[in-house]
Amino acid sequence: MRLFPEQPPPGPTRPGFWRSPLRGRWLTSFLGTVLFPVVLLVGLTGFLSHAAYNPGLGDNAIVPAGGDILVFDWPTSPSWLYAATQGFHVIAGIVAMPLLLAKLWSVVPRLFGWPPIRNPAHAIERLSLVGLVGGGLFVFMTGIFNAQLFYPWPFNFVVAHYYGAWVFTASLVLHVGVKLPTMRRAYRERGALAPLRDSLAETTAEPFEPDGLSSPDPAAPTISRRGLLGLVGAATTTLLITSVGQSIGGPLRRLAIFSPRGTGAIGDGPNAFPVNKTAATAKVTETVVAGWALELLGPRPRTITRDELLAMDLATHELPIACVEGWSTTQRWTGVRLRDLAALAGAPEASEVQVESLQKKGGFRQATLSADQIADERSLLALMVNDADLSMDHGFPARIIVPALPGVHNTKWVASLEFRS
């Protein structure tokens, strides 16, 4: 019994509908070979950045229990570790887009292949491709939207992006496994790089095969394969130039012209560097911070005024703040070492500290830091930045600065520190 008529209906289900002379096993294999390491970098740094939140501590976990597979003590050195992993994650994710779109263009006739289902193996392979194509587009799109503070969906970004990455990664591993023989065949038949040498005049279509990517009736080429890859490369390069500055700073920062915080800072002076969340949005006003004193909790609880903190032994360190959106900025912070505060609270060997903000509502108003993070000489309850008092937007009266810690865990407007042993 036949499920589908032998002859495809007119339209894209007929092989002759697709006429590009460039499509074929080699082009798709080559695009896949270039795209794979970029996706690997994005995936690896993504899962690492998730681990950087130390989801095993306190209320740090964002995804429901059982979802964090990579849990280890996130190190404090080098101090730019998170700036690097997250910078690579976001920038590589952005610049991968032209490659991803080209790769999908190269295989689009397969979506309409006839018959739609040949046998059980074909059916489940096609179903898994929903995870590959849909999952891939989903994780890239949600990540890129998050970097622009654009949330057109009702779900939690982190949860959806993280689990979307699971599905995408699993389907990608499967896809590479299934397609490896096809890639090897393409490179064996046409050479790994040989088609790149063909000029437009030398460009020929791959011979047609049923259920393949090449056309039975190819049009005359209007661009060579290397020309097509050149277009993709030009798009990638332009995206790189216009976004990398938000992560690495320096003169390139001025070129990050589409990143919301790429080029911008509020005002000028010592506090003129990008803000993740303003005091006004966090509803931390002058009234809220008036008469502030740090609530230090532990075996010897006490409160300490800002003047008392300023009279303690202060340390100054150049440390980056790096945001999940990929931007980072390195500033000179001055404050009291967390380990001195731990000793003051009667917990010199504290295994963790729970930090609470004056911010009453909203995400990341608290964070739990690890023993290593408390013990690091550079971990500060910062009171000043670039020799000036912190501005309200940067966390006045006091904020956490810990090397290599994700930006949002450097809690601003600190209300209390609870050291636990």
Binding site: P64, G164, V178, V232, A235, F258, P260
Partner: protein
């Protein structure tokens, strides 16, 4: 045994095991998300992303390319790829950064970053104009160097902008 599986299933056992492992992971994700209030929405977005790409985005840019090839004059030095260069680079910038360009996140940028959103749309137009200038200069240099300036007279130029990729057969 393996032969019978291949006959009934269509592929070897490794294919089946690999796909079962993938669906097991996907099932675990679905279970993890089951408590999330919008698990179904996430699924819809994943499927929707694939559908919008394959059934809207690809046909739109394929049609744009076809229209471009039809509209361009037949020149002795084909210009089509110089136009494609501008279209591809500018188009990818648009696909990636359209939320800020069209002010989709203006409120969030003001509230969170404390910044007045910049004129991202103007910047994109400026970049596009710059690319167009670059591409035109490159074309002029190429055509002059090859000494092939002006329109094609004969009709039998095999490599020309009239070639019709991805167009339905008449």
């Amino acid at each position: 045994m393996i032969g019978r599986l291949r006959g009934a299933y269509g592929e070897g056992p490794l294919h089946l095991v690999g796909h079962l492992a993938f669906f097991a992971i996907t099932a675990y994700v679905v279970v993890q998300l089951a408590d999330a209030p919008s698990a179904l929405t996430i699924l819809l977005w994943i499927v929707g992303a694939a559908l919008i790409h394959d059934l809207v985005l690809v046909p739109v840019y394929a049609a744009a390319d076809r229209a471009l090839r039809g509209a361009l004059p037949r020149l002795r030095t084909p210009i089509v790829n110089h136009v494609r260069f501008v279209g591809v680079v500018s188009g990818t910038l648009l696909i990636v950064w359209f939320p800020v360009m069209f002010g989709k996140a203006d409120g969030n940028i003001e509230r969170n970053a404390g910044l007045t959103p910049d004129d991202y749309l103007i910047r994109w137009l400026a970049v596009t104009a710059g690319l167009a200038v670059l591409s035109t200069l490159a074309y002029a240099a190429r055509a002059l160097r090859a000494g092939r300036v002006g329109r094609v007279e004969e009709r039998d130029d095999a490599v020309g902008p009239a070639a019709d990729e991805d167009a339905p057969r008449a």
